[in-house]
Amino acid sequence: MPLQYSNETCSGCKTCQLVCALSKFRTSNPSRAFLNVKGKFPAPGKYYVEYCNQCGNCMDVCPTGAIEQTDGVYNINSELCIGCKLCIDACPYDVIRFIDGIAHKCNDCGQCAEICPRNALSYSAEGASV
């Protein structure tokens, strides 16, 4: 089951971004996370999370073959990335980051779903009850 998101329970806390940035970049910096949390206020009063659903658009445009798919997950080989940013332009969710001259993306580690206190991100069909 791929990563799922439900805005029925999301309260916009950004903990998913914190754990992502801390685990990948060893810093407290949500702007580096491979997810975007957006609140639509005052109306309709809902949160939306953009995340990598491993669609593969990034691999399709990569000119150096730096992005490879293994078991449905697309990973960037930092040795081959030339920092052209084509993958960033191609990402429909704006969740690939350009840091220190190369692209970085979600490797489906699952820590965002593990920590999500509202079970808004999960790997189960229904999500767990809060």
Binding site: N7, T9, C10, S11, G12, C13, K14, T15, L18, V19, A21, L22, S23, F25, R26, T27, S28, N29, P30, S31, R32, K38, G39, F41, P42, A43, P44, G45, K46, Y47, E114, I115, P117, R118, V130
Partner: protein, 625 residues
Amino acid sequence: MIYGYAGTILRINLSTNKIVKTPLKKELVEEYVGGRGFTAKILYDENPPNVHPFSPENIFIVAMGPLSGHMLPSSGKTHFATKSPATGGYGDSNMGGHFGVTMKYAGYDVMIIDGKAEKHSYILINDDDVKIVDAEKYWGRGSAEVEEAMKKDLGEDYQILTIGPAGENLVNFACISHDFGRQAGRIGIGAVLGSKNIKAIAVKGTKGIPVFDPELLLEKGKKMYGDLRKKPGFTGWTPQGTAGITDWCNNVGALPTRNFQKSNCDYAEKINGEAVLKELKITDKGCFSCPTPCGKYGHAKTKIGDAYVEGPEYETLSLLGSNCDISNIHDIAYLNYICDELGLDTCSAGVVLSFAFECFEKGLLTKEDVGMEVSFGDFESAVYLLRQIAERKGIGNVLAEGVRGAAATIGKGSDQFAIHVKGLEWTGYESRNAPGMMLGYMTADIGAHHGRCWVLGNDVAGSAVVGNVNDLISGEQNANFLPKAKHENVVPIVLKSQHIRPAFDIIGTCRLQFMEIGLETSYYEEVFYAITGRKFSWVELERLSEKLWHLNRMYNVREIEGFGRKFDYPPKRFYTEPIPDGPNKGHFIELEAIEEMLDHYYDGRGWDCNGIPTSDTLVKFGLNL
């Protein structure tokens, strides 16, 4: 670099347009840690003595703590301080949301704003780039309306705080608003920004904060989130947030009703947490990194209009609801919305409205004075008065001074029921049956606010242990709701609560996960070390918290003429009028008992009989003032 901190103090002088960035000093960090520690120290040292709250020279401080912005539950509290327009003394207020952490990600632990802008302006911060920008097109408009407009103008990734018309017009209970529903409500903090011609501050931050041991923080932070979910309070408290306490307060006779004339109402089930969920709620709305969102964002429909609004939470339900005798949950939510848009603190606004209603009921104000007939329970009276206050029109100009100032103008004995301490309106806990809670309100440095001390559950249960609120309000001790605490025994637990509760304002997190749900303090010690590399025990934190009580008391001694014991008394109603009905019928705390509590309290603090810290006490805490 200091791990855990952004590392810079940002100073903005609006009169000279000078923007200065200075490194955060290690000595300040070691001694005062962050948040409330920073604001207390900076205000005492840097604010000119006897400055008027609305003088350009009165500094306005935003300060974050070392844990702010890191991966642990609810690390998103933003702490503000200035000389209070409401009390004339030390004033601070804080809010959740995402503003302060973003300021920290932009590189600043502290922002100190001085002077007055020549024109209506806002402050724009994009990492290193800091500007003062013309705000004429936003001036005069509502808080959330401006936030929405600025997000369209600047981009969704800016975090924005605003003031409303009440702040612009220097209403002394004007608030700061942020994130479509979070407020730093108290002490008139919004009016100080208004006095500086600042409508808003917008910040975008992408630089991040260094962490001493990221692996350890990942481990300990995840454990905090995981273990919190296993606490009974997680499932008991989260669904309704603070609104969930309404029924309990009504049952124990602590729900302010009709300007604190009564302590319970007969319609609590219409204005409680369940009513919020059933009638209003669209979504849970959490602050930054919060696993237990108090915010219930909803939609209110009334005969005069509909509105999207966050809340009402408990304080608003009680003070704009039962305390004004308004029993329709949609009407209360709409009043919440109007206060938010106008930039009025819902706590003080509720007490000011109820004061006006009682004045009218007793004939101390007339239709000619007010401009219309107003009364308890009348939604349209409340809407009318709130708008008059924000614009300082007619009677609104009198009420805009808060109940202390209004009672001084109206006279005729109205100070009997002006419900405040030191000039700050009381919040949502009637305390004539609760000596500890009353003492907590009486002695709080900023005036009558529950953020400094909450021992109502202990008063009711008779417990001497600072337990979490969820356990206290759901425990069997409540089988008999009459208060069990005796006034002569409450000082130790009041002191304890006064040290623990605001300690979270020092480290820069919300207290709710500890106070309401029961996450142990050891978790905070562990993440403190992982983030900063400093072994800082909870005992040391409480000791610092205690020190700040002396420092802020001395600020009040310096700034408020004749300050001392007489500023610590509760409103006259609370020691002269027994509760007329309900579960605590006949209860009140006599003046003699209040004097006794104050004597014990001053002894416990190391203050003299006039409530002034002794020189021995100051020396003991390293305060060379």
